[in-house]
């Protein structure tokens, strides 16, 4: 039988711990590439790149939907009559001053929630559960609102938004419709996904 005292337990513990720690670092380092492989791939990023859209064919009062990162982006050419309704709606809205900064870039923190007053650029997904709201532009009584001034109406759970995408009080949706980053390249083209300063 060998003598137990011969064993240097301190050295053993030190070597075991050191090797375990270094080996553990190696294992963690080896796991990182596997975790990173779940991030959006180059193809997904390319598909999510800023898109440039031509808005010259959108007549006053019309809405056209574009796709950006697979999301529906509404571009609405609002008439002066529609814009005139916005101010008076404030008492009926949940967040009339767009104080929730996550819902729009700073440039759209105004009554029209836009860069140019007539052009509304907005992500067409209801902030309740993500349905695509209907565009109901006419200023006339509707079955869901006798005092309708034009806006968006979500068919899923009856949330209502005005023509700046601001949500009404007392509906299921908790926030205003989100405004994406965008800027005007010229009078007839906007690029969605890039701030006016050019930062994406």
């Amino acid at each position: 039988m060998a003598n137990e005292e011969v064993v240097d337990h301190g050295r053993r513990r030190f070597l075991t711990t050191t090797t375990a720690v270094v080996g553990g670092v190696g294992v963690v380092a080896a796991i990182v590439p596997f975790i990173k492989s779940w991030e959006p791939s180059a193809r997904a990023k390319a598909a999510g790149a800023p898109v440039t859209v031509d808005i010259s064919a959108i007549d006053a009062g019309q809405k056209v939907t574009f796709a950006w990162r697979s999301l529906p982006v509404f571009v609405v050419n609002r008439t002066p009559a529609q814009l005139a309704q916005l101010k008076g709606l404030a008492p009926r809205l949940l967040d009339p001053d767009s104080s929730d900064t996550a819902q729009q870039p700073d440039f759209a923190k105004n009554e029209t929630r836009s860069i140019k007053p007539e052009w509304l650029v907005i992500i067409g997904l209801c902030t309740h559960l993500g349905c695509v709201p209907d565009f109901v532009p006419d200023i006339k009584p509707e079955p869901f609102d006798a005092n309708w001034k034009g806006g968006f109406y979500c068919p899923c759970h009856k949330s209502r938004y005005d023509l700046s995408g601001r949500v009404f009080s007392g509906v299921p949706a908790p926030k205003n419709l989100a405004v994406p980053k965008y800027h005007f390249i010229d009078d007839t083209h906007i690029q969605i996904g890039v701030d006016p300063e050019g930062k994406s």
Binding site: M1, T19, S37, E39, S41, A42, R43
Partner: protein, 433 residues
């Protein structure tokens, strides 16, 4: 902290009283001979590579597309667009080749030290089944990138089944689900490669280890440590020449793993195609059913068996002899415990005839690998100017086929009829360091 841990341990033991004894049986109280040498690293390394293949394989399936139209593109998508996808793919492709390197060496160890002999025949048979499933697994994985070598490799290998009399042609169409390897073939191979065969493989590996732990490991001296003197510093009634697997062989195998990972990392980062041996040039061209690659050959780990197939000519109007030879080459290995009837296990104490025969087996196997890979066909014109390449290659290849099969015939006669003059086997194991 310590008491929390021990309380947790108690909690666990009360609810699963069988687990701790199981851990002890297979780790701390699994006594292995203390004289394992270099050759004994390859078992644990094979397990490591298996884990690597499963993990990287799972991540590859997350981006691979199983269709003839999309498969090739999706592999390039993994290589370029997926973050670190190239690393995961190279780990899988390099792992596949290293799996065979490790398994071949592991098998050779078994032959060299007589580990297949009584009472370990079951361990050996289970190991041979693992080898067969592994070959099927590797072949189907090779088809998945749907490059031109994948396509034609699939075509040629599946055609082997066409040589079976009467049912051959029907069988070939049934395997492919089409008239050529096609979308349906790719889909069923994918299913087999990623789930069916890995499950079988895992089950067989568990059985292989369980069977081994029933009878205990052999060693380079082929001495039965269980029948030797008893009592060691860890236990009074365990074999004197054995040591607990944990910690002694876990630390030793870990060192082997470190060394092996360096070799693997070198290949993955500096030579992932390994000069066209691990990833072939022609497989970077998409599958094309109208153009066969000019150098068609299987992956390197199949080349010895492929050479046997090619070297055996067809006669009586059928090519089945080559196919029988190829599968027979594997079957004979499985039958080794009954062909080799010598009483001495380890080559260290066996007769000169056996040692020479073993050398012939190794040389023939490697040479057949070169023939199958087409290396000899390239070398012959340089070494024998003016000679007819096919004639020389066939003569050489057939000699090597003879060497391979000759080993089994010789060993049977040599041991069955008492020709072997063995050396005295020591009572105790020997250490050589």
């Amino acid at each position: 902290m310590a008491s929390t841990l021990s309380r947790l341990g108690n909690w666990f033991n009360e609810r699963a009283p069988g687990f701790m004894p199981m851990y002890r049986k297979h780790m701390t109280e699994y006594y292995a001979p203390k004289n394992f040498n270099l050759w004994y690293y390859f078992g644990s390394l094979a397990l490591l590579v298996l884990v690597n293949q499963i993990v990287t394989g799972i991540f590859l399936t997350m981006n691979y597309k199983t269709s003839a139209a999309e498969a090739f593109n999706s592999v390039e998508y993994i290589m370029r667009d997926v973050e670190w996808g190239w690393l995961i793919r190279y780990m899988h492709s390099t792992g596949a080749s290293l799996f065979f390197v490790v398994v071949f060496l592991h098998m050779f160890r078994g032959i060299m030290y007589g580990s297949f002999k009584k009472p370990r025949e079951l361990v050996w048979i289970l190991g041979m089944l693992i080898f067969l499933v592994l070959m099927a697994e590797a072949f189907m994985g090779y088809v998945l990138p749907w490059g031109n070598m994948s396509f034609w490799g699939a075509k040629v290998i599946i055609s082997l089944f066409g040589t079976i009399p009467f049912i051959g042609d029907t069988l070939v169409q049934w395997i492919m689900g089409d008239y050529l390897p096609a979308d349906s073939t790719l889909n069923r191979f994918f299913a087999l490669h990623v789930i069916a065969l890995p499950l079988v493989l895992l089950l067989l590996v568990v059985l292989h280890l369980a069977a081994l732990h029933e009878v205990g490991s052999n060693n380079p001296d082929g001495v039965d440590v269980k029948h030797g003197p008893k009592g060691n510093r860890w236990s009074p009634d365990k074999p004197k020449d054995a040591i607990p697997f944990h910690p002694y062989y876990t630390v030793k195998d870990s060192f082997g793993v470190g060394f092996f990972l360096m070799i693997a990392a070198f290949i993955i980062f500096f030579a992932p195609t390994f000069g066209g041996w691990f990833l072939e040039h022609d497989n970077f061209t998409p599958a094309n059913n109208l153009v066969t690659p000019s150098h068609i050959k299987p992956s390197w780990y199949f080349t010895p068996f492929y050479a046997i197939l090619r070297m055996i000519p067809s006669f009586f109007g059928t090519a089945i002899w080559g196919v029988i030879g190829m599968f027979g080459a594997i079957l004979l290995l499985a039958l080794l415990p009954w062909l080799d009837q010598g009483a001495v296990r380890s080559v260290r104490y066996r007769g000169m005839g056996y040692r020479i025969a073993l050398g012939v087996l190794v040389v023939s196997f490697l040479a057949l690998g070169l023939v199958g890979a087409g290396v000899t066909a390239e070398l012959i014109p340089a070494w024998f100017p003016g000679a007819d390449v096919t004639t020389v290659e066939n003569a050489f290849g057939r000699l090597m086929v003879l060497g391979y099969f000759g080993f089994f015939v010789f060993v049977w006669i040599y041991t069955r009829f008492g020709f072997e003059k063995t050396k005295p086997v020591p009572e105790r194991v020997t250490m050589h360091d």
